[in-house]
């Protein structure tokens, strides 16, 4: 295939709603301070569950954070985070779709699983069960209070519909879900859409909230969550030998992506070049990660190749690092395979150690963290790390954030089901005209 010069894409806006801050600035400050987002669960009475804590978004006021309040009626908890984070990203970028260019704006989102709210399920239970079993005839009871507004909220692309309407985005729009890799894959899709010229601007990100009885149940049943109920803030300790599961988080992260030359021409702040995307399927087992990193390795190598750089150009890796035994071991195998002799020089941290695992939002939030780390010249730490694991002997940033000039950063997202997403962000100073 002929070598065609790839269109260069700039990151010019960032927005975040996370368990450690309701804006990008708050989240970043909390990351540098090593603050933990984990605490006993407040959204509902979790006292009977095997895990009673989580990393919740706190003190979030949708009424003031979401520009078009009329949309809130149709918005689930995760949609509210998305609307707020996307509004912040656009305002940070200082641009927004207009009448004349709205068809050149696109949207790509990683959306959470469409599980129904416990309260809605309780209503179905109360009207339409017979001896604990579902009985469809109950839905025909004239008193059944089923509400089409709730129905709309749980449609797979409801978040997409709310976001395009909120901001008047009229070009390409997509919604993807590959479990924990969703956010990364959504950003990767956005990069591809822009490079092939279908959009000049994209809003790309992820949103999720599974901190509800049904969401928590799924993970408790699998035994995937840390059960350190007496020590929530220390429970997420990726790569530590004593790690025992992830901490469920929630939130949203969005980036504004823009044609590089247009961004330069309008004098925009460019956080980073969104330089590469890599994407593979492990084809191993549904929850287990391949111990030798076969799968993640291909995603990382593709991302480096796509960015036109090599492993020697990466200074910082924001790891998927969930704090489960298997994931962290598999990811380290992949990093050691890709970076080989340089693995000592590459600094690594998982910011899930502070904010927990934001599932479908994780990849997008962590990409935003990479962009901020490049711009601010400091990489966040891998909090709660105490006991080394010989299988995870990568060069972790521990104890405090690491001031460092980052030429390029890699962000990994490895999902249930085996989808792996790796993204490369490059320091704008490294971009040769």
């Amino acid at each position: 295939m002929a070598l065609i010069k790839k269109r260069r894409i700039a990151v010019t806006g960032i927005g975040m709603v996370t368990p450690i801050g309701n804006t990008a600035a708050e989240t970043w400050a909390a990351l540098l301070a090593g603050k933990s987002g984990a605490a006993p669960t407040q959204n509902f009475d979790a006292s009977g569950f095997t895990t009673t804590f989580s990393a919740e978004v706190k003190g979030f006021d949708a009424e003031s954070a979401v520009p078009n309040r009329k949309l809130l009626k149709y918005a689930s908890r995760s949609h509210r985070f998305a609307l707020a984070a996307a509004a912040e990203a656009l305002s940070d970028a200082g641009i927004a779709p207009t009448e004349s260019d709205s068809h050149r704006w696109g949207l790509s989102v990683g959306a959470g699983m469409m599980s129904v709210a416990y309260d809605d399920l309780k209503v179905v239970h109360d009207y339409a069960t017979d001896g604990g079993q579902f009985d469809a005839a109950g839905l025909m009871n004239p008193d059944f209070p089923g509400n089409p507004v709730n129905f709309c909220r749980w449609q797979s692309n409801a978040g997409l519909g709310l976001l395009t309407k909120q901001f008047g985005i009229r070009g390409y729009a997509t919604s993807v879900h590959t479990a924990c890799a969703s956010g990364g894959q959504a950003l990767g899709t956005a990069l591809k859409v822009m490079r092939r010229g279908q959009c000049d601007y994209m809003l790309a990100g992820g949103f999720d909230s599974m901190i509800n009885p049904i969401g928590i149940s799924g993970f408790c049943l699998l035994g995937a969550l840390s059960t350190d109920n007496d020590n929530p803030t220390g429970a997420s300790r990726p790569f530590d030998a004593t790690r025992n599961g992830f901490v469920l988080g929630e939130g949203a992260g969005f980036l504004v992506l823009e044609d590089w030359d247009r961004a330069k021409a309008r004098g925009a702040t460019i956080y980073a070049e969104f330089a590469g995307d890599g994407n593979s399927l492990s084809c191993y087992r549904i929850t287990d990660s391949p111990p030798d990193g076969n799968g993640p390795i291909q995603a990382i190598e593709q991302a480096l190749g796509d960015a036109g750089i090599t492993a020697a150009d990466i200074d910082y890796v924001n790891a998927h690092g969930t704090s489960t035994q298997m994931n962290d071991r598999s990811e380290c195998s992949a990093l050691k395979a890709v970076f080989a002799g340089r693995v000592e020089e590459v600094r690594v941290s998982s910011t899930k150690s502070s904010m927990g695992h934001l599932i479908a939002a994780a990849g997008a939030v962590e990409a935003a963290v990479c962009c901020l780390a490049i711009r601010e010249g400091i990489a966040p730490m891998n909090a709660n790390y105490e006991t080394p694991d010989p299988d995870c002997d990568v060069n972790l940033i521990t104890g405090a954030p690491q001031p460092m000039r980052i030429r390029a950063a890699l962000s990994n997202s490895l999902g249930f089901g085996g989808s792996n997403s790796s993204l490369v962000f490059r320091n704008p100073e490294e971009v040769k005209p």
């Binding site: 797979s156 395009t164 084809c283 989808s419």
Partner: protein, 426 residues
């Protein structure tokens, strides 16, 4: 980066829906004007205002022989695995791979992708929690304590929206670029568009693209009915008497690769992917632009992407879901582009119901058959074209395409419009 000298072709297809479990069988039903919409069997419809659907009546073992897998996947996943693997089998790629050496096989797998459009989830899966809610008397602490005794540990895994991607991956070792698109009706057609784009962009050498969904379930019927979207009989797209859609269920899939690669391995070619358009109307979750402008923009983008003019188009397969506003605005969008010279239009939901995430891609598989045979199946339920839509070139009888190029229109919740342009092969 699209390279116009590099053609992307379809080399395999597969389908399962109420109208059949093979491309030939579904085509036969479609061409003979026989609908699969019938009184449903999955729950008692006696007290329900809607009593019909186009159900898949084969048992799970027909769809997925491995019974161990049945415990870890849901109904929609059965359809998706069946259709995707049928398409891969049809392409001849597994046999081709068997002839490769060890190193070549590793490279083949790393360069083979899967892009799956998924319905994303359903209501029925949550009913596994209902006995627990009864047991806990509606109190959450008891719900949490009794959880592990009442609900399968596999619950989350059974209901992952990306299950088809995962399991087809494990079973076929297609390890390359992948995505699971959860964009309601647009999911399956966007999977095809992204697959072609990924091959053009050299991210993969071959990709199986699929869409799967099982929207027919009591709560979906209830809410669609409440919203006025549900008919009590096979849908009548563009008809004066249309009154809504009917659910089907199932999956369809295609395999895409470069024409040169297909030729080199002596594969049969079903058609060519020419281009696509995708746009949002920014109207929220349910609303549509009243003038069909989103449909117009998506068609124009697809023509432009394909490098063809409107005069080249030989037929249109419309979304035609049988709803008042949707069919009307769709016809307006088509008229905006084609004026008074609209090529023959058809729509297939009367035959196999609305497959939601799989709807557009099922239509695609049938369009490739239609172009191959030079026959456009008519809309068997059509009686009289709506006067607000007429004159409009739809017909009850089969017609002939004006050329070997078809446009496929897919509309969805969220104000989505996706249009594919394809060329058929005789």
């Amino acid at each position: 980066m699209k390279n116009p000298s590099e053609k992307i072709v379809f080399t395999g297809s597969g389908i399962v829906c109420g109208a059949g479990t093979s491309v030939a069988e579904v085509w036969e039903r479609l061409a003979s004007g026989e609908t699969a919409v019938a009184p449903f069997t999955q729950f008692d419809g006696t007290k329900w205002p809607v009593k019909v659907a186009a159900e898949v009546l084969q048992d799970n073992r027909f769809l997925v022989a491995d019974r161990k897998l049945h415990k870890t996947i849901s109904r929609t996943d059965m359809f998706g695995i069946y259709a995707t693997e049928s398409a891969i089998e049809d392409s001849g790629l597994p046999t081709y791979r068997e002839g490769l050496g060890e190193e070549e096989t590793i490279d083949f797998n790393d360069r083979s992708g899967l892009i799956i459009g998924s319905g994303g989830g359903n209501y029925t899966s949550n009913y596994e929690y209902l006995p627990l809610i009864t047991e806990a008397k509606g109190e959450l602490p008891g719900f949490g304590r009794e959880l592990a005794n009442q609900v399968t540990p596999m619950w989350l895994l059974k209901n992952l929206p990306n299950n088809v991607l995962c399991h087809v991956g494990i079973r076929t070792q297609f390890k390359g670029t992948n995505a699971c698109i959860t964009n309601q009706c647009s999911s399956g057609v966007l999977a095809v568009a992204e697959a072609a784009s990924a091959i053009w962009n050299n991210e993969a050498d071959r990709i199986a693209a699929a869409g799967h969904d099982a929207p027919f379930e009591p709560e979906m019927v209830y809410y669609y009915h409440q919203l006025g979207l549900m008919s009590g009989a096979a849908p009548k797209p563009f008809d004066a008497g249309r009154n809504g859609t009917v659910f089907g269920e199932g999956s369809a899939a295609v395999v895409l690769e470069r024409e040169a690669d297909a030729k080199a391995r002596g594969a049969k070619v079903l058609g060519e992917f020419l281009g696509f358009g995708c746009c949002s109307e920014a109207t929220g979750i349910l609303d549509l632009e009243p003038d069909g402008d989103g449909v117009r923009r998506a068609i124009e983008a697809a023509l432009d992407d394909a490098g063809i003019s409107k005069a080249d188009v030989g037929m249109i397969c419309a979304h035609g879901n049988g709803n008042q506003a949707s069919d009307l605005t769709e016809s307006m969008g088509i008229r905006h582009v084609f004026g008074d010279d609209i090529p023959p239009v058809t729509a297939f939901k009367w035959a196999y119901g609305h497959l939601i995430a799989a709807s557009g891609i099922a239509d695609l598989v049938m369009i490739l058959e239609a172009l191959k045979r030079g026959i456009i199946p008519g809309i068997a339920t059509l009686e009289e074209v709506d006067s607000l839509i007429a004159p409009f070139p739809v017909s009850r009888e089969a017609t002939k395409p004006r050329s070997d190029i078809a446009l496929l229109i897919c509309q969805g919740f969220g104000g989505m419009n996706v249009v594919l342009a394809v060329r058929g092969r005789c």
